[in-house]
Subunit: 317 residues, 2 copies
């Protein structure tokens, strides 16, 4: 049975490599210096799962010219990925990154994305209910477009659990806070990229992170994985608290998409074992291996095996 | 019979309105502040012709995701436009304009565009030969992609003249210089936007422009229309030389696409009269009327009539 990855807010990711990018000037771009890839966290998870040889179904909302590009590129990425989106009227998001490697700047233009009419949300829910019984795991990951309530992750999880499906989340605080009130996932990885916040509180010290992880567990989540200061992680389960720290330097410029690789690798391991700490370790190793490459490509199993030797995990509680 | 407009190098034109656009920052863009329109000079001419109620067939090379957007948008623009492009493997050009109205800056990112294989050029020529007998006028306007020789405007004109079709050109110096050796158009409007050059010589003084216009006429062209210092034009025919000067201030920020409106309006008038100076006057009036609007929209007949009162034409030779 495949994995269902839910991408409510897909995007077309574009990278323009332009040296000496300057305001009020005309810049010429060659095909070699320009890239166009499907984006959105749950889509990235599906792409990484495919690299690990795992079938997935990707659902969510898609529309417009940019949506057509995402769909076509996604279908061409791997035969292991099946797309099953609800089509909407509006254009999906476009994330343009203008990368100046000479002056080390990253200038971004992100379009706001569509507003989802209630009718399309209902259509999505009907479709979701039909897909869930046919999959093994449900992944809910990434942001929500306007029109979708923050509690949706809880609602979708409640439905998935009726069929005894394991659910994994990666999301920002508002979604976590509102959704946990409805239903809880098996594994939860807060998305701290924009804001280091949980349950409305700013996280500052290591202890803040540990406490937030424990709070997640009190809700009934089996494992919380929290990134602390980018490259070291705090893992909390019912059995204890662990620190996962790299033994090598981590290239921060290559962190794009590592959270999604982490998620895909945890699911890969979950299909083999119920040992939560082993699942977290494998996710961490895959994310670490991913930072060894500049481009948005999934790590190989060999790289992940190598990365298993490049970090330490220590139980702190 | 429709007009044939040949767009060898179509583009997707995109406008992003972002105030305080800054390097190394993340900018959010709403749908209202973003625009996506078919581009390329001959395509713009077809859009303006449609606004004047004139049918056209647009041909050239198109490909990729961006090409699909251009085709779809063009077909939706007007039922008076028929598309008949040769499909290529590569992506067409994308011209991104980041407009900061607060700080009055225009930052542009233009992609280089495709390389046309010889096979596709041959395909195009076969198709062109089939279309030409079915149209009234042929417009050759705009740049060429890699793989297409600068002499192509001459070759296509030679073919059109076999069927006694009137041909109009707007092009930059390299195309004019190499193409005039093969065959000459009825009306020629040099494109001086990037370089004020003709026959390899820099044009500086008013006299340089007059001399260049006369040189064009010596080749056998019936009328040369040369923009001098952006807002005033020099018209040269076998009968004399005229200056066309505005009586009102011209908003230079709104010059985008005025050359194409000029062309479309000259063709509109040509269908009514053979009086060359009348044709040039109508083109000038339409271009002037177009500057009254910020957006890339064709002027109305009413606006053009009003604009006829806002400039003077004086014979100087």
């Amino acid at each position: 049975m495949p994995i269902l990855t839910v991408c409510m807010n897909p995007a077309l990711d574009r990278e323009f490599y332009i040296n000496d990018f300057t305001i009020d000037k005309l810049h010429r771009l060659t095909i070699e210096n320009s890239r166009m890839t499907p984006g959105g966290k749950a889509i990235n998870v599906a792409v990484d799962l495919a690299a690990f040889g795992i079938k997935s179904v990707v659902t969510g909302f898609i529309g417009g010219y940019l949506g057509d590009v995402v769909l076509t590129e996604l279908r061409e990425t791997s035969e292991l990925i099946t797309t099953n989106f609800v089509h909407i009227e509006e254009e999906i998001r476009e994330n343009i990154a203008i990368i100046d490697e000479k002056n080390h700047t990253l200038t971004e233009i992100n379009s706001s994305g569509p507003t989802i009419p209630l009718e399309d949300l209902q259509h999505f829910l009907r479709r979701y209910k039909l897909i869930v019984p046919t999959v093994r795991v449900v992944v809910l990951s990434g942001s929500l477009p306007i029109g979708i309530p923050n509690s949706i992750y809880g609602e979708l999880t409640k439905l998935a659990k009726k069929y005894n499906k394991a659910v994994f989340w990666e999301a920002k605080d508002e979604i976590i806070t509102e959704s946990l009130k409805i239903s809880v996932p098996f594994v939860l990885k807060p998305d701290f990229r924009r804001e280091k916040k949980l349950f409305g509180e700013d996280l500052k010290t290591e202890q803040d992170y540990i406490d937030a992880g424990k709070e997640i567990i009190r809700y009934g989540v089996k494992m919380a994985v929290l990134s602390y200061k980018i490259d070291y992680d705090i893992v909390v389960t019912n059995d204890g608290v662990w620190f996962v720290k790299p033994l090598v330097g981590v290239e921060h410029a290559h962190l794009l998409g590592t959270g999604d690789t982490y998620m895909a690798a945890m699911i890969y391991k979950y299909l083999e074992t119920n040992d939560l700490v082993e699942i977290a370790k494998y996710g961490y190793a895959a994310a670490l291996a991913k930072t060894w490459y500049k481009r948005k490509i999934p790590p190989t199993f060999e790289d992940i095996e190598k990365a298993m030797e490049k970090f330490k995990i220590e139980r702190v509680e």
